[in-house]
Amino acid sequence: MKRSRIVVSLVVLATLLYAVAPLFQRDRRGGFEMGKFGRVPILLNGRIKPLDTVARNSLLIIHGKQTLSIEIGTLTAMDWLAEVLMKPAQADQRKIFVIRNPETLTALGLSPEAGKYFSFRDFVPHLQEVEQQAALAQKVEAQLRSPFQRDIIKLFERLTLYHRLENSIEVAGTSDFKRQVEELAKNIHPDPVPMKTGITTEALQSLAFLAETGYFFAIPPFPPNDDPLRWRKMGESLLMFLSDGKLHPAVQTWATLASAFQANDAATFNRTLESYCSQLQRDLPRRVWKAKVESVFNQLQPFYSAMVLYVLIFILAAASWLVWPKTLGRYALILLLVTFAIHSFGLITRMYLEGRPPVTNLYSSAVFIGWGAVLLGIFLERFFRNGIGSATAAMIGFITLLIAHHLSMDGDTMEMMRAVLDTNGWLATHVVCVTLGYASTFLAGFLALTYIVRGAFTPSLDRATASSLTRMVYGIVCFATLFSFVGTILGGIWADQSWGRFWGWDPKENGALLIVLWNAIILHARWGGLVRQRGLMVMAVFGNVVTSWSWFGVNMLGIGLHSYGFMDSAFPWLIAFVASQVALMMIGMLPLHLWRSQLAAPRRAPAPEMADATA
């Protein structure tokens, strides 16, 4: 007994160590304090966030990954961003743009032999062509665009983002930004009319360009102020200096950082960064703290760790149906609890950073569906102790986090909420209820899949397991009915409060209604004796189809109040998922003698009391 307790503690410890390991990765490249640099808060898209978030999201959008492999080793997102901001000549040579569509290559006159990776410099001769092609493609409605048109628009957006990043701190190609700022400060006679300040036309134009093109707002409010509206871009701050003669200290700081980085002077860079950070700490303690939390959160990537662990749990739990059911099942549950804690940590940190209830967009709905399903799965495992709750929960946890990972490719997953959605009360009730409805309908569906797969393909589904699965599915369907019904009606009430229409037959509303109706059908069919054990399972699997339609399908229609934009890339996956579910439903309806598990009453010696289970 004692020994097993030690083993359990070791397993828990090892799992937690695995989860926090990313924090101990080195963050000094060439002596520069990149980790610290990544925690500097800036403003982008209405939200104050650490530079690290900008780096990761931008690299994700441009390159598709959060790190960049180079000839020797890898660059972290921050290493890469520092180059883009302050050493663009080097950054321009990094092969970060990926083009997989051969038509795009041909259209730009690039040879397919050159591979699929390109640097910004490779595109310089073709920028005009890209812009023209993208402008042509943009005139076509989003749903009707050809793969080439979608690809060229994407490429144009990536190039634009890169270009804007490069011109966020200094005009790309500036040799010594610090000296430039110092000279500007020396030669200017502040005047509301810029031309009277003594600045050359050329210098004025480059400041205006910097103000216009810059991607993020690097300069905090001065005097210190919590109002996000008072953050400025580098160029804007310099233009303001022309008229009022007050040079913001942060401008000099950024200029010193840029010149030091360019000159490979790590000591000056680190010293300047250190003093800037302590200044910010004094001026904006809350923002700095949040930026720090966010950058630690970025580094930990709790959802990624959880995703990997869910695979392990699924393997453990599924193996427990074949060998050592008690031991393996126990460790699967312990791991599931630890992983659930990691998943919850991620969820709660996001809620803290956003100051919002858990679900605010499609990405967070995926994270939350996984979370809800795992929570319910833990309860099931606690009661039934047969590995099914763990395995199913782990499977849904893995799939939903994988979906979330792909959804995060579009950039920042913590966007600001549009005016209509800006009410925490309704987000916390309606959205959470509906999403829990999705989670439980999926859980019931995946439990039923376990039944069908184990029953049809393995001999492991005995009658006791079958009947406990039946009770699980039935209970979860009840739960799903409750949450989807209440959530849907709460949505109606929100709509009534917001625009006076309880029900408007909007696609997303209809999707939620379909889930309610389907769950109600399952329950009524069961009560009316229209289906029994296997019928219940097949119906529960169809619940997966209905829920995936409501979750993703309706968004692909591109209409209605809830549409999040057309997601063409997900469409084939949805079709494949639906097809797989229908195939499994058909397997579920095969005559029992074709199943490998012996659920049917034995033919030779029929036992009357077991006839019931054959339904």
């Binding site: 403003l43 898209n45 209440v486 037959w505 009316g528």
Partner: protein, 386 residues
């Protein structure tokens, strides 16, 4: 007597769970197809054809006949309602164990009735109001009216309004306060208007008076897009005691009044969005529109208005913002949009006598489901722990 009725086989069929399942399944099909149809037909037409109808019809393109292919929302709702009530009449007795089931179905019944009432009696209109402007009416966004305004008196106008429903029927319209009859020549719910100078080949206009002579009108199918508005037009002929006064073109595309004299009175003709006058007036003092820092993501819209009601001695300022409407005398004013460089606010004005029903229904259903399932759950936990 009642027992014998309840035991007849048609009544049993009406009360059966099989019928419930069939109705719910058909409901799913209807909702699914109704969602897909919105891609091509827009939400308003789909709502009328699929959900607020007895049957959904199909006809091959260009044919004049149609066949019902699916029961519509009203029919399914009614059958479900009958099924529910019948089931409760035959099967369920009042008992503590059934309390949850009864409560939740009562909620569903209320929800269905509430939606039926809303479909029949609720009215959604819009108020487009400029800063500084005072309005005492709201307008239907998808319905027009023809008005004849007697502007003879310097102190007041006398208005005769003819709603779209009457215009669409055609024929002659007579009103005791007008010394002429109005003959509807052709009413086009949606149309395209072009200056005659740009379409010299067009046939001559039926209009003999007003701006209609210089405009070519072609009928168009009603728009299916939710962000577009129909341009309705009509040719109307006025007939006085001495014969025809002429034919005019009226259209909501041209908000210009066309005046003429008759028997010492001055009359104006105008087609406009149908108006609904209120017993109170609203003045837009200020409209504000905030965005998040450094973006154009809208953060909040709000309209500061003054509400004036002479009947009830109300004269106060109100702030209407997103998710925070004004409720007054049965109407609810929602911030719905803006226009004209943030100088015009668009308010959605809703009157729905059945507004409270979903709230009560929601409470009942939630309570019923909770009761029912927690009874299951506790029973289950007890059994497991034994």
């Amino acid at each position: 007597m009642s027992t014998t009725l309840l035991q007849t086989s048609p009544f049993r069929a009406l009360a059966s769970l099989r019928l419930t399942v069939v109705c719910l399944a058909l409901g799913m099909l209807l909702v699914f197809l109704g969602t897909l149809a919105q891609v091509n037909w827009g939400i308003h037409r789909v709502q009328a054809r699929y959900f607020q109808s007895l049957f959904v019809y199909w006809s091959p393109p260009g044919a004049s006949w149609k066949i019902p292919i699916l029961p519509g929302g009203y029919l399914l709702g009614t059958v479900l309602l009958a099924n529910l009530i019948a089931a409760h009449a035959t099967r369920f007795q009042l008992s503590k164990k059934k309390a949850g089931i009864i409560l939740l179905h009562l909620g569903v019944i209320l929800l269905l009735i509430g939606q039926l009432l809303t479909g029949l009696f609720a009215r959604e209109t819009q108020m487009r109001i400029d800063e500084g402007q005072t309005l005492g009416y709201s307008e239907a966004s998808r319905e027009v009216e023809l008005v004849v305004i007697d502007t003879t008196s310097p102190d007041y106008d006398q208005v005769v309004a003819i709603p779209e429903g009457v215009l669409a029927k055609g024929g002659k319209i007579q009103n005791p306060s007008l010394p002429f009859t109005i003959k509807i020549g052709q009413f086009m719910p949606n149309s395209q208007l072009v200056m005659r100078s740009q379409a010299p080949q067009a046939p001559p206009s039926p209009a003999t008076q007003g701006f209609g002579k210089s405009i070519v009108v072609t009928a168009e199918p009603r728009t299916v897009r939710d962000d577009e508005r129909d341009l309705s037009s009509a040719f109307i002929e006025l007939e006085g005691t001495m014969g025809s006064l002429g034919t005019w073109l009226v259209s909501n595309a041209i908000p210009e009044r066309q005046s003429f004299q008759l028997d010492g009175h001055t009359y104006s003709l105008l087609m406009r969005q149908r108006r609904f006058y209120k017993q109170f007036a609203i003045t837009l003092l200020d409209f504000t529109h905030e965005s998040y820092a450094g973006t154009d993501i809208p953060k909040n819209f709000s309209s500061r208005i003054r509400l004036t009601d002479l009947e009830r001695n109300e004269n106060r300022e109100v702030l209407i913002s997103m998710n925070d409407p004004l409720r007054y005398r049965g109407f609810t004013f929602y911030q719905s949009g803006f226009d004209n460089n943030d100088k015009t606010s668009i308010l959605q004005v809703v009157k729905n006598p059945a507004m409270l029903m979903p709230y009560i229904a929601c409470g009942l259903v939630a309570l019923g489901l909770l009761l029912q399932f927690s009874m299951h759950l506790f029973g289950f936990v007890k059994k497991q722990s034994r």
